[in-house]
């Protein structure tokens, strides 16, 4: 892959188009083979959506038009209207067109659009008109010829628009839409000055290494001389029995030699000290240079965002001013790359959902021109990016209504939610308050992409909403993920690395118990709240319940996301050292690991886990709550994990259990369920048997093989009703095996109650 910084926006679009087209074609061909599951359709929809975003950035409205139609068709398919084989052909033809576009140079893009406009329009007609009928290619072909003349004008308009919007700045970085992982193969560009410094320091290191080799040879020579000296002493002892005078002379010689060797050893040690010191200094400088080579100014992403604002605001007929501050703020280039897509999503949302039209703004007493402020800065060693608009703000009541309409919660629960909790629904996949979908935004899956991308980079997203005045999204991320200052601590003979910038303090304290017998330690002196809970850090990591015995203990106090000391302390066994570690991402095959952010290697070349402070705090408080509840009033009950690769079955079970007042979390397959089981506590697992990734039997075996989860009640629910299937499920460790063909709601709910206990949520109409 070429250096991305050397590519123009259009070249980046071409790369993006190639990747997305390949993805779309692979998945469409899978559709052709009858694989029409939800994951495939969702992947297709995302692929079309990402490509649409990329096309919009380079102003290719013809491609936007086509990809929007494709996306629409995938959405309709997700809602249950299957894609006919003839439509798959149509979609494949659409991807062929996009692949052709990816091969066209920037100069030829306008001409290509003009040439293909009629064909694109015909495909769009087929794709958007195919709802409810399997129109297919035949209709498409007819439409092509019938519409070709009609759309000739449209084609010209598209072409002229593109010519106007085609980017010209060669030095701009490009937008990387979608979530493709590129960093592994990405080349880095650094200035020749920095590169020269790195070479110079590497050369110094090499020279120092050669000096160490020479020193080692000199010390080896000295060792041989000392060995000879020892042999001389033995000889002198033998000679002593024969001639005492010669013995004295020999010993004198030996002592003189020993004295010279001792002096020589002293010189060599001094030399070694000097070289080690120089080597340390040089290594540190080299490290810093390499680290800084990874950092780029935040301003690298700004030109694209300005272009996006210009294109979209023009298209929507809105006047918008984008103000950017902190363009020189340094960010790790991998994180910066990953930020491009979330920032685009947020900007599009601000322009489409947030900012009102000029007329409405003026009527509301606001300036005619809408304002979007983008700010990047470092706070407490973290990168904080804020994107705020002065639009109408999010209609929190509409969010709640939408959540109720979608069956995500009932009206009573919605009424109890805080504004912040209600706004969390915006980050759910596919959640949108818009009744109609536009090409700009409104599908609603932008924000979940924003959140997941930021989470992948080790960050978090918060919304601050002021109705009538605007919305601000704040993303908090690490400045770099390559190097990190950590405190190494020991927990039950294992080392863990704790990010130093999240440690408020480490203290030797005296653990006491409060009136309820719970272990507590001294927190930051506050009014009426001087004692805070303390739990073993390992129990938070393991999500198990354990108490710290009263008496002396070492504890870590963390800073929360806002930089304040969290009101819970974590007991550790030992503080080892403060050090800088090279951060490695966790193997994606392991999935999301609660409370573990990354991994590094110790000086003994052993993996050491880097803990995630936010998760530790969350798990700590959760563990504490469970411990408190368990000791006071018995464990909380009523949480069920439903696993099924069929959305229909999942939904059916979810509704059944919700009606019976259980809390329900769903997963699409065994592997996702296994990850969820690591992250939170459940009272019952209800699982299908035949699923991708990890089937139900394997999931049961995993659960039964895990010390913490071994006692979790499990119901297997399957279409397979043969006796051997049932036996296989029960032998694997399931508590019950229910055949879907014989499913009876009341019997099923009775079984759930027997295994998980009665539901905890209050019945409808009862007091909260």
């Amino acid at each position: 892959m070429s250096d991305l910084d050397d590519l123009s926006i259009y070249e980046m679009f071409r790369m993006e188009a190639e990747e997305q087209v390949e993805l779309l074609q692979t998945r469409l061909l899978a559709l052709k083979d009858g694989d029409s599951n939800e994951v495939t359709l969702r992947t297709l929809m995302r692929g079309a959506h990402s490509l649409k975003g990329a096309a919009r950035v380079v102003g290719l409205s013809a491609a936007v038009h086509l990809t929007h139609a494709m996306e629409e068709r995938f959405v309709v398919a997700q809602e249950g209207r299957a894609i006919a084989q003839s439509e798959v052909d149509t979609l494949l033809r659409a991807t062929d067109l996009l692949r052709d576009l990816a091969a066209v140079s920037e100069e030829g893009a306008a001409a290509w659009s003009a040439t293909k406009a009629a064909e694109i329009e015909a495909l769009v007609i087929v794709l958007t008109g195919a709802e409810g009928e399997s129109a297919g290619v035949q209709k498409s072909a007819a439409a092509t010829s019938a519409k070709a003349e009609v759309t000739a004008t449209t084609g010209e308009q598209i072409a002229s628009l593109e010519m106007e919007a085609t980017p010209t700045d060669e030095d701009e970085s490009a937008v990387v839409a979608g979530t493709n992982e590129r960093s592994a193969d990405m080349n880095l560009r650094i200035t020749s000055k920095r590169f020269d410094r790195i070479i110079a320091m590497s050369t110094d290191n090499l020279v120092q290494a050669q000096g160490l080799v020479r020193l080692q040879e000199q010390m080896a020579r000295l060792q041989r001389r000392l060995e000879r000296l020892v042999r001389s002493v033995a000889d002198a002892r033998r000679k002593a029995s024969l001639n005492p005078e010669k013995q004295a002379a020999a010993l004198q010689v030996i002592m003189s030699q020993g004295e010279r060797d001792r002096a020589r050893l002293g010189t060599l040690i001094l030399e070694l000290d000097r070289m080690v010191h120089m080597h340390d200094l040089n290594s540190e400088r080299l490290h810093q240079e390499v680290l800084h080579a990874r950092l780029r100014p935040f301003g690298d992403v700004v030109p694209n965002l300005r272009r996006l604002v210009r294109n979209v605001s023009t298209e929507m007929g809105k006047k918008v001013q984008l103000d950017v501050t902190g363009e020189k703020t340094e960010v790790d280039r991998d994180i910066l790359e990953k930020l491009r897509s979330p920032l685009e999503h947020l900007l599009r949302n601000a322009l489409d959902h947030g900012l009102e039209t000029s007329a409405v703004r003026v009527a509301n007493g606001k300036p005619e021109e809408g304002s979007v402020k983008l700010r990047a800065r470092h706070v407490n060693g973290r990168l904080v990016i804020t994107l705020a608009d002065d639009g109408s703000g999010v209609d929190v009541a509409a969010v709640a209504r939408r959540a109720i309409d979608r069956g995500l919660l009932n009206a009573e629960t919605a009424a109890e939610l805080s504004e912040a909790e209600t706004l969390e629904f915006l980050f759910l996949p596919g959640f949108s308050t818009r009744s109609e979908v536009t090409e700009i935004s409104g599908r609603g899956f932008g924000l979940d992409v924003v959140q997941s991308t930021v989470h992948e980079s080790g960050g978090a997203v918060n919304i601050e909403n002021t109705p009538g005045k605007g919305t601000a999204f704040e993303m908090t991320l690490p400045v770099t993920r390559s190097l990190m200052r950590v405190m190494q601590v020991e927990l039950e003979n294992e080392r863990y690395a704790v990010p130093l910038n999240r440690i408020s303090r480490i203290a030797a304290v005296n653990v006491t118990v409060d009136a309820d017998g719970r272990p507590v330690v001294q927190g930051l002196p506050k009014e009426g709240e001087e004692l805070i809970p303390v739990i073993p850090m390992l129990s938070a990591l393991q999500n198990t319940v354990a108490n710290v015995p009263p008496g002396p203990a070492k504890v870590v106090y963390f800073l929360n996301e806002r930089g304040l000391e969290a009101p819970i302390a974590f007991q550790i066994d030992r503080v080892i050292d403060e050090t800088t570690v090279s951060v490695r991402q966790l193997d994606p095959r392991l999935g999301r690991m609660a409370a573990i952010a990354a991994v590094t290697l110790t000086e003994q070349n052993v993996p050491m886990l880097i803990v995630e402070p936010d998760d530790i705090l969350r798990l700590g408080l959760q563990t504490r709550r469970v411990a408190t509840t368990a000791s006071n009033a018995g464990e909380e009950r009523g949480s069920v994990l439903v696993v099924d690769d069929s959305a229909t079955v999942r939904q059916m079970l979810r509704r059944t259990l919700l009606r019976a007042r259980y809390r329900v979390v769903t997963a699409e397959h065994g592997a996702e369920a296994w990850n969820l089981l690591q992250l939170q506590a459940f009272d019952l697992l209800v699982s299908d048997v035949d699923m991708p990734e990890m089937n139900g039997i394997e999931l049961v075996e995993h659960v039964r093989g895990n010390a913490r989860l071994a006692q979790l009640p499990i119901i297997l629910l399957s279409y397979k009703g043969r006796e051997e299937d049932r036996r296989r499920g029960l032998e694997a460790g399931a508590d019950a095996y229910v055949t879907k063909g014989e499913f009876q709601e009341q019997a099923f709910l009775q079984l759930v109650t027997d295994l998980a206990g009665p539901a905890e949520l209050p019945a409808e109409g009862s007091a909260p």
């Binding site: 390992l538 573990i596 290697l601 070349n605 052993v606 993996p607 886990l609 990890m694 995993h702 895990n706």
Partner: protein, 195 residues
């Protein structure tokens, strides 16, 4: 569709097409069908023997062979870093090898072969399925790398491993007959263990 109307036919191909038509249009020679029937009726060879390079290891009492092409390294027993509430009977934790952090799985537990692996002969094996997808597991001992013949496993050679784990045996250079772990099953189970 006749040959003469084939879309790809050109005047230059016409003579060849005529020859081809003449060849296939001729009557079947006497006894031709019987000859083929006799050939097809012959039993297939009982075993197809191929040669391969295998890493031979000992897991408890079992001696097993793993195709060498998947083996990236054999190293002294590496220190395992357990992962809180993820390490279990099958997934032991993470190991570092060659600057990489690799998931370490207990093949012993997956196979139900023996207890924990200790001792000076213990080794860590690093396997690679696809580029970048590496797994580590420990064995009681490495017996060596050998080239030999692979044959289908007959029932009397079964030593506790099911057919899903092993279908073939390996005649090594030292005259040992060792069961070969099926690579698909092996990687599938390793993948599940780390899921």
């Amino acid at each position: 569709m006749s040959d003469s109307k084939q879309p790809n036919s050109t005047p230059r191909l016409a003579p060849w097409l005529e020859t081809r038509q003449a060849f296939f249009a001729r009557p079947v020679p006497d006894g031709y069908a019987d000859e083929w029937a006799a050939v097809l009726a012959q039993p297939l060879a009982e075993e197809v023997e191929t040669k391969a390079s295998m890493l031979e290891v000992r897991l408890g009492e079992m001696q097993l062979a793993i195709a060498s092409r998947y083996v990236k390294a054999v190293t002294e027993a590496l220190i395992i870093c357990p992962v809180p509430h993820r390490s279990n009977t099958a997934f032991l934790g993470l190991v570092a090898f060659g600057g990489e952090v690799i998931p370490c799985v207990s093949l012993v537990r997956i196979l139900g072969a023996a207890d924990a692996i200790t001792g000076t002969d213990a080794r860590t094996i690093v396997l690679e399925d696809r580029p970048g997808e590496r797994w580590a597991f420990m064995v009681h001992a490495v017996l060596g790398v050998s080239t030999g013949a692979i044959r289908a496993r007959s029932e009397e050679q079964v030593s506790g491993l099911g057919h899903d784990w092993s279908e073939c045996v390996f005649d090594d250079e030292h005259g040992r007959l060792i069961e070969i772990l099926k690579s698909e099953t092996l990687f599938q189970r390793l993948k599940r263990a780390t899921a």
